[in-house]
């Protein structure tokens, strides 16, 4: 394997882990309440800006902003569910599609209004520079963000499989009326899942803010990619979203390397189209 290829592969893996963390929250929300949260990537942007402002105004390093973003977006997710999404849960399907779309447009435009559409960066985060390992240069913030993303996805996985509340979330996902019969308050599980999904993407935002440009429309690309990852992995499947996220990251970087960076998204979406053509339920769907 050529050294260049190895370097690209590692780069793809690193960005793929971030995609996974973003998509896992989205797929979980879909799995539990069959709602596509179009505002998901805007929550990512809020996470990034939270980290940016904490750094700029108070000198808080993005590393310390990670838990802050997690808690803040958890609360925001809960509020948005309670006051917006839950109102249309029993309404027509179109209302359910449109409502989160409205939230998305509102948040993105509010951000432009408040903070202008400028691109910003956190200039001197605690973590910067690269590790040089033979031929491979490994960006430290990217590596830390990716390892963190894997750890958090794993933690979510264990929470769902091992705790009573986690299993209740899975139970609602599998059979809502049976879950009610067991005594599970399904409305609360909805709110909790929405909050957890939002919290995960908020944490992803804090990670990304260590090395990525921060601007109000940053949700656009990430949003599109995360819908694609969720569908590719299988709607509702957390394992699927995790694997698909990493796969998309690698395909994107290798595609950009072998063909032309301008085509990298075209290659990603071609892969997506071919997969759902052969396997409409996605890689790990049911």
């Amino acid at each position: 394997m050529s050294e260049q290829l190895l370097a690209q592969l590692i780069n793809g893996l690193l960005i793929g882990c971030m995609y996974s963390l973003i998509a896992v929250g989205l797929t979980m929300i879909w799995g539990v309440m069959n709602i596509v949260n179009f505002a998901h990537a805007d929550f990512l942007m809020i996470g990034m800006f939270t980290s940016f402002w904490l750094y700029t105004l108070y000198g808080v390093d993005p590393l310390l902003s990670i838990p802050v973003c997690g808690v803040l977006l958890f609360l925001l997710g809960w509020i948005i569910y309670k006051f917006v999404v839950s109102k249309v849960m029993t309404g027509p399907a179109l209302a359910q599609v449109v409502v989160t779309f409205g939230v998305s447009i509102f948040i993105a435009n509010a951000a432009v209004f408040l903070w202008s559409p400028d691109f910003r960066m956190i200039e001197k985060p605690l973590l910067q520079g690269s590790w040089i390992m033979g031929p491979v240069r490994l960006s430290i913030p990217k590596a830390v963000a990716s390892i963190g993303s894997i750890a958090i996805t794993l933690a979510l996985f264990l929470f769902l499989r091992k705790t009573k509340t986690g299993k209740a979330i899975l139970a609602v996902e599998m059979n809502r009326s049976s879950a009610l019969l067991m005594g599970i308050n399904t409305e609360r599980v909805n709110a909790l899942s929405f909050a957890i999904g939002s919290s995960l993407v908020g944490i992803a935002g804090a990670f990304l803010s260590m090395y990525y440009y921060i601007y109000p429309q940053v949700g656009g690309t990430f949003g599109l990619l995360s819908f694609c990852i969720v569908a590719l992995g299988g709607f509702g499947s957390i394992e699927g979203a995790f694997i698909a996220g990493i796969l998309i990251g690698i395909v994107q970087t290798l595609g950009g390397y072998y063909f032309d960076p301008a085509y990298k998204y075209a290659i990603v979406f071609a892969l997506y189209l071919v997969t759902v053509w052969i396997r409409p339920q996605g890689l790990m769907g049911w």
Binding site: K167, A171, L181, G183
Partner: protein, 235 residues
Amino acid sequence: MLEIKNASIGYKGGVLAVQDISFTVNKGEVVSLIGSNGAGKSTVLRAISGLLRLRTGEILLNGEALHAVPPYDIVRRGIALVPEGRQLFGRLSAIDNLLMGAYAIDSKQRTQETLETVLALFPRLAERKGQRAETLSGGEQQQLAIGRGLMSQPKLLMLDEPSLGIMPKLVSEIFETIQKVSKKGLTVLLVEQNVFEALHISDRAYVLQTGRIVLEGRGEELLKSDLVRQAYLGM
């Protein structure tokens, strides 16, 4: 123990599935609701569980109104439903399905004790406890569904068509189990299309036709009645 008074139940925007029915279940009894497909039997059980709301009438449990309690609190009042078609959590293991049955019970020790009782009642489930529910056979799934219902330590166990889609050989096994748990003091409300088996194990039964109760009586009496023999037993 359980009283249904002049209840009418309908699905959203549709006609009434059940009209003005009244019946009671006394403590320790096995009571059956029998009738053909679409007579409204399952609708009644779903309403008692709170999954459907009454249009009119009342449901009382030991004199307390049940029809305004949120569905997720019904099980905490001591009522468990084993739904039609089993409705298991397919991708959870058998043991996790049983543990979800005890979701409303906060004491780990009590859950563990009940789990042992249930596994003793269904030894097959003990052998398959790590297996995903969706990979079990029909009979095992029904045992799991009943076991899950028992895990909440109910005072009243409601079973909706427990013999549906099960090998004939296993059907009598299921009915024996129901008899076994009722002998231990559990009150049972049973909905069945398998009229013969159901009436055999019932103290009393009600016959439902197109949403109304047309006949009631002791199980053995109904087995001899002309209406039941002609309409449901084909004699």
